[in-house]
Symmetry: C2
Subunit: 439 residues, 2 copies
Amino acid sequence: MSTLRIALLGCGNVGSQVARILLEDADALAARTGARLELTGIAVRSIDAPRDVDLPRELFTTDAEALVESADIVIELMGGIEPARSLILRSIEHGATVVSGNKALLALDGPTLYEKADAAKVQLSYEAAVAGAIPILRPIRDSLSGDRITRVLGIVNGTTNFILDQMDTTGAQFDDALAEAQRLGYAEADPTADVGGHDAAAKGAILASLSFHTRFALDDVYCEGITQVTAADIAAAKDAGFVIKLLAIAELLPRDDADGAGAEGVSVRVHPTLLPRDHPLAAVHGAFNAVFIEAENAGELMFYGQGAGGTPTASAVLGDVVSAARRMVLGGPGRTETTTGHVPSMSIDAVRTSYSIGLDVADQPGVLARIAQLFAEQGVSIETLRQSIHPAGDPGQATAEIRIVTHRATEAALAATVEQIQHLAVINSVTSVLRVEGA
Amino acid sequence: MSTLRIALLGCGNVGSQVARILLEDADALAARTGARLELTGIAVRSIDAPRDVDLPRELFTTDAEALVESADIVIELMGGIEPARSLILRSIEHGATVVSGNKALLALDGPTLYEKADAAKVQLSYEAAVAGAIPILRPIRDSLSGDRITRVLGIVNGTTNFILDQMDTTGAQFDDALAEAQRLGYAEADPTADVGGHDAAAKGAILASLSFHTRFALDDVYCEGITQVTAADIAAAKDAGFVIKLLAIAELLPRDDADGAGAEGVSVRVHPTLLPRDHPLAAVHGAFNAVFIEAENAGELMFYGQGAGGTPTASAVLGDVVSAARRMVLGGPGRTETTTGHVPSMSIDAVRTSYSIGLDVADQPGVLARIAQLFAEQGVSIETLRQSIHPAGDPGQATAEIRIVTHRATEAALAATVEQIQHLAVINSVTSVLRVEGA
Ligand SMILES: NC(=O)c1ccc[n+]([C@@H]2O[C@H](COP(=O)([O-])OP(=O)(O)OC[C@H]3O[C@@H](n4cnc5c(N)ncnc54)[C@H](OP(=O)(O)O)[C@@H]3O)[C@@H](O)[C@H]2O)c1
Ligand SMILES: NC(=O)c1ccc[n+]([C@@H]2O[C@H](COP(=O)([O-])OP(=O)(O)OC[C@H]3O[C@@H](n4cnc5c(N)ncnc54)[C@H](OP(=O)(O)O)[C@@H]3O)[C@@H](O)[C@H]2O)c1
């Protein structure tokens, strides 16, 4: 098996998790890629800075330029414009594949980078730059490449979504919700880039460029943050059936909506927005992100997940790395399916889940105790039990409906319990057995 | 510009829309692909059958085998096992790229097809086979390739989701909800494949195979449909804060959950499932589909959209076609970004949207009329107006808060209105101006 040499630039929130996964999951990644991904070095400013992850000290260097020159794949997670841009350009010149999560750089100077990469026939990918862990750029570029996107609405900044969600749920004012976000680590000490909408604007420019096959720069994005949104605004919106979200919007304006020339155009903008409470984006709570897309043929699509955080963002970075590495290894079309694993298929009996069980029982004293005892004997523990009585004409003929939700148990234990329970004299019938997930 | 010859097998719900898009959007597809996608023929059983789309008669043929032999890309949308399988194998032998939406065939015999395609170094893709328009297979295969998926929960059958959603909202019994689904075209005359869970099971097998890098066949899937779910089950679930969905579940069972051997394993199953009402999948209504994924690093992700229908499914097919064609044209890594379009960026003034405007006004007779008149003069029409009075100590000093939601208007008209309104004597202040989307 061949080896691909990987240079990591930056070892902060995201970089340290990327390094951890490259080292911890080396075997699985090699099996899926067809090549070993060897982390040859990590460039940082200060080798002795404290890190989120324990990593071998000999991997660290402050000489990013030298590191880049010997790499097959360069992962840029330093952030900022320089020296990130120069290092990426240098990597491309050396023929290295580049993966980056640097939305600021891409929104500012993406076109230069894409051109250089295309000219040098090297891959440049940056899934992590927009909406963290959510696969969104690749779906827009590949899966929707045969369709015509008309509108993109994105909750692409977790900090502001957390703040607005707090205000919506607790009635808090902006300042208090911001303080809470800072306390919980969702907002930085200087929150300007987030609450001012600038972070969302950079992502909006990238989303618009991919969606409309045209380069939009940060300057093209109209930007309004959430600092002016008051508790009264949120309360009034709620009253009228709306929720307020900070959206990055990229929208194709039809001819009759556009300015004098009568041409189609694209509006890219970030501003607080009222959304009906039954809109799919309205259900995106806390620091989660989501991107809602309308396309001519596909209709409405939504992509939802964690938009930030070292580990989730590292997942997107590694997805780019493995995808690029596969193409480097296999050439041509790549493999249809990677079935390098051999996890056995398990029968339903091995599954542990919760159950909801409906019973039609005689309404007699002692029935509940009898049922509870039987469950206990089978080792299936009851989480909730609800009973409703159906009165009957004849006294003593009344029946009751019982609904039990169990704690997790195996299918086997559950099947045995249901089998036993049918034999109890007080049970008229087992009316339903359904599984419960996600509780 | 080079030309790629496209053979279409089948011209039913999906195939007819694929043909339409290939013909209608030929120029845009060529620009994005770098090659013209020439539809050379459409194989059907009966040339004179009525079609959803008007297509040139000379494209039709009943000789699918001949059609396949001269194609660069073969799109299989006939459905069923034979002759679809033989035609796909023949296409691969001829070195053609294959795109299919045939979940039944892929669940039954995917491994053979993938192996033949890989051996022949041709691309085989089938995004449309699972969850219609939703990009889900490509994200699992590429974007999540550096992560470890632990669980997939999918609402992958629109018919059953429509029926269960009907039962949940209207309290209907299964039979009535099914009849309604049939009346609206969401269920077929023979609904067995859908309500019995078999369609979802085929998709579950495909999802599991990609997620766990191991081949799972239809036989590995435990399958229970929704025919036994009663209105009483739904009502009891609702009472307890749950909703019932038919889920396709593929789940990695940890060692201690698995059978005697103590190994990890995967359970693939389809059954009606209670989900808490605040679970993201609980908000998936009507015939929509969604796939919820849990991965070790990415955390929770959800992909939402239309799971069926000729046009949405055609979008997924075309995404596969364009992606594959791009690789055929460009070789190597493909392009970073396709900025072949030149849509101008529009200023915010050209945007038409609705607005929510908050006003602090004197509580005097005639205020509302004055405001309404001013909006009318500016050509901004009011959709709703709510007023709440803040009583004051001094009579005549009371103020009122007014919230107006407008119909769609341009930013320019809105800005002029807000400017004017500030000059009205009865207005204390404009407290907020927020935009509304999605209403
Ligand atoms: N954090 C997220 O959730 C998230 C989400 C999506 C995208 N991103 C993007 O991912 C990138 C990295 O974010 P992060 O949160 O991981 O940043 P971070 O925690 O600030 O880490 C930056 C790292 O880069 C190193 N670095 C900075 N300047 C350098 C220089 N001139 N030479 C050498 N090393 C240098 C730092 O070295 P020292 O450790 O020695 O200071 C540090 O290790 C950014 O572009 C960000 O926008 C982040
Ligand atoms: N419909 C959806 O929403 C949807 C969603 C996802 C995936 N899919 C998949 O997409 C595929 C097509 O679905 P569909 O709904 O479009 O099917 P459909 O409406 O039944 O159309 C099938 C087409 O194939 C042709 N055909 C069938 N057998 C043939 C044969 N032996 N020789 C030549 N032509 C033959 C038929 O010809 P005639 O017109 O002459 O009868 C018809 O044009 C299926 O695999 C399905 O599972 C469909």
